[in-house]
C-alpha cells in the first residue's frame, strides 16, 4: 500500500496514533468496534477533547482509554466509577465516561456501579459485556451464562447471571440502553443518546470473546459469534408488539429505560449556590 495512506480519518483525529498500534485486543475483538462507536458519537456531538474524561478500571475493555486523545484515567480493578465520581464532582462541566467490562464493572466493581446508579450522578458508563474475564485468561464472570464453561467453571457455570440493564434500572440509573457489536450504527446512536442524557446513563455493549468464551464453549470465531448476536438481538420497540413466544430467549436492544430524575452534581451545585451570599459577605 502506498506509504501516504493514513489510518481512517476518525482514528487520525481522535486516537493517540503515535502510541503503539495496532491496539492490544485480539484480532476480531469487539472492543475496538465499540471504541470506534464512542469516537464517532463524540465527534458527531462536537464535544471538545479537553472536556472529556475517559475513566476505566482493569480488564480488556479498560485498555480502551489509553488509545484515545482525551483526559484518560486507567484506575484500579473495579474502581473506575468511584474515581469517575471524584472527577465529575470536582469538575461538573466535564463529560465523564466510564469504560468497564462485565468483570470489572459488575463483580469487583458492583458496589460502586449500583451506588452510582442510585445517586444518579451524571456519568455515562459503557459496559462492554463479553461474558468472561478476558485479560486474565477466560475465567467465569457475573454474566457468564448458566452451564457455560470458563477456566474457573470447567464443568459449566453453576451460578446464575445478572441482567445488567435490569440491575442498573433497579438501582436507579435514569438511562439504560443495550446493543451489540454487530449493530454498530445502533451503538453509535445509543452512545450518543447516553452521552447527552443528564444523569447516570448505562450503555451495555454485548461483545465477542472468541479467544476464551468462544473457544471454551465452541461458539466459533469472531465472525460467527458476531453473527449470532444478530440472531438473538431484538429491538425493544419490536418486542413490545410481538407475542411473548416470539420474544423468548431474545436479547432486548435499544433504549430500555429513560426517565427524568434529580442529578447528583446539579443538586449539589444548588446547595453550593444557597451559600453564595454568605460567601460574598465573608469575603467582603
Amino acid at each position: 500500500m502506498p506509504a501516504t495512506v493514513q489510518p481512517s480519518d476518525v482514528a487520525y483525529n481522535y486516537l493517540r496514533v503515535k502510541k503503539n498500534f495496532p491496539n492490544v485486543w485480539c484480532a476480531g475483538c469487539g472492543i475496538g468496534t465499540v471504541m470506534g462507536s464512542i469516537i464517532r458519537a463524540i465527534d458527531k456531538l462536537g464535544y471538545s477533547k479537553n472536556d472529556i474524561a475517559l475513566v476505566s478500571g482493569i480488564g480488556c475493555s479498560s485498555r480502551l482509554p489509553v488509545y484515545c486523545d482525551f483526559n484518560t484515567l486507567h484506575t484500579t480493578h473495579g474502581r473506575a466509577i468511584a474515581f469517575a465520581t471524584g472527577v465529575k464532582l470536582a469538575k461538573p462541566h466535564m463529560k465523564v465516561i466510564v469504560i468497564t467490562g462485565d468483570g470489572d464493572g459488575l463483580a469487583i466493581g458492583g458496589n460502586h456501579f449500583i451506588h452510582a446508579c442510585r445517586r444518579n450522578i451524571d456519568i455515562t458508563t459503557i459496559l462492554i459485556n463479553n461474558h468472561i474475564y478476558g485479560m486474565t485468561g477466560g475465567q467465569c464472570s457475573p454474566t457468564t451464562a448458566h452451564d457455560k464453561k470458563a477456566t474457573t467453571a470447567p464443568y459449566g457455570n453453576l451460578e446464575n447471571t445478572f441482567d445488567v440493564a435490569q440491575l442498573a434500572q433497579a438501582a436507579g440509573a435514569s438511562f439504560v440502553s443495550r446493543s451489540t457489536v454487530y449493530h454498530v450504527q445502533q451503538m453509535d446512536k445509543l452512545i450518543g443518546l447516553a452521552l447527552e442524557k443528564k444523569g447516570f446513563s448505562l450503555f451495555e455493549a454485548i461483545s465477542n470473546c472468541h479467544t476464551y468464551y468462544g473457544r471454551l464453549n465452541k461458539e466459533g470465531d469472531a465472525v460467527s459469534m458476531i453473527q449470532d448476536m444478530k440472531k438473538i438481538a431484538l429491538p425493544i420497540k419490536a418486542a413490545k408488539v410481538l407475542p411473548p413466544e416470539k420474544t423468548k430467549g431474545k436479547l432486548l436492544t435499544g433504549v430500555l429505560w429513560d426517565v427524568e430524575k434529580p442529578e447528583f452534581c446539579s443538586e449539589y451545585q444548588k446547595l453550593i449556590d444557597n451559600f453564595k451570599d454568605e460567601r460574598e459577605k465573608n469575603n467582603a
Partner: protein
Amino acid sequence: MAQSKNSVRRLVQGNEASMLGALYAGCNFFAGYPITPSTEIAEGMARMLPKKGGRFIQMEDEIGSMGAIIGASAAGAKTMTATSGPGFSLMQENIGYAYITEVPCVVVNVQRGGPSTGLPTKIGQQDTMQARWGTHGDYTAISVAPASVRECFEQTVKAFNFSERFRTPVTVLSDEVLGHMREVITLPEEGEIEIINREKPDVPAEWYHHFEATPNLVSPMAGFGEGYRFHMTGLVHDPEGFPTADTNEIRKKLSKLRNKIVRFSDELVQLETTMMDDANIAVVAYGTAARAAQQAVLMARDKRIRAGLIRPITIWPFADDQIRALLKGIKTVLVVELNMGQIVHEVDRLAHRHCKVESLNRFDGEVLDPVEIFKRILEVK
C-alpha cells in the same frame, strides 16, 4: 475558620481541628465513609464544604472514598478523606495508586484499638507500620502524628503542604483520644501559615508530560479540564504517562517516586525534644503517648534523673540522622507506644550498637499514664 481579621481562640475537638486544618490548607473536596472514631471529620466537611464552594460526598465504602479523592485531585481539587483502622486497610490499594500516579491527597487515620473491629471507641497506635508498608510494592510513605488538638489542625495543614509539594499521598496518624478530646486553641488568621499548592505546568499542551523529569523529581501537574490532555495509569509508566515494560524506564520511575521524597527529607523532618541536651536516658514517644511521656520525663528530672524526650512528629520518613545524633551519649533509650512495639524497631535499628533499647507498651485501649512511664524509667536507667 478565622471569620474576622484577628485570630480566634476557641474550644475545639481534635477531629474538628483536623477538618478546620484541611479547610485552612485549601481542601475543597472530601469523600469519606462513616467509621468510629473519625466520623466527626466527615460530618464537619459535609457542613462546611458547600459553604466554601467545595464539594463533599459520602461514598459507599472506603475504597470508593479513596478512589473519589484521587479522581478529584487528578481533576485539580485539593482532596482529603478520613477513616480509622478498618477503613485504612481497605484504602491501601488505592493509596498505592495515588503514589504511582503522583496524585496529591491526604488521608487522616483516626486510629482505634486493633486489630480487626478491635476497640472502636478506644485508643491504639497500632497502624504505624501499616502507614509505612500497608500498600503493596515498594512504597515511600509520608506520615505525620499530631499529639494535641492544635497539632491536629497544624499537622493536617502540613500534610496538605507535603502532599502538594511532593505530589504524593500523605497520612495523618491521629487517634481516638486526640480525635475526641477538646482543647482551647488559637485558630490562625488567613495567610499566617504558608500554604503550598502543586506546581502548574507552563509549557504548551503538546509538550506537556504528566510525569516530566525535573531537578527536584516532582513534576508540574495539570488537572483534567485545564487545557492539557494526558493519560494516567496504575501500570508502571514513562514520563508521558503511558505504560512501559522497558526496564530502564521502570527503574527511573520507581526511583523517582522514592528519591523525590528521601532526597528532600530534611524538608519533612519534624522532631520535638525536651531536655535532651544533658540527658543520659532518652524516652522516644509520638502522638498521644508522648503527652504522658513528657510528664514522666519531668517527674524523673525532679528526682535528678537526667531523662529527656524525643518526639517525632513526622513519623515517615523516619528521621534516622537526627535521632542517631540525639542518641549519641545516651545510655538507655525507652520507646513508649500504645501498641505491641512498632517504632521501637526503627529506634533499635539506629541505636542498638551503642545504647540499651527498652520499650514500654500498652495495647488494651487505655493510655499509659505518666506514673507508669516514670516507674519504667526508674527500672531501665
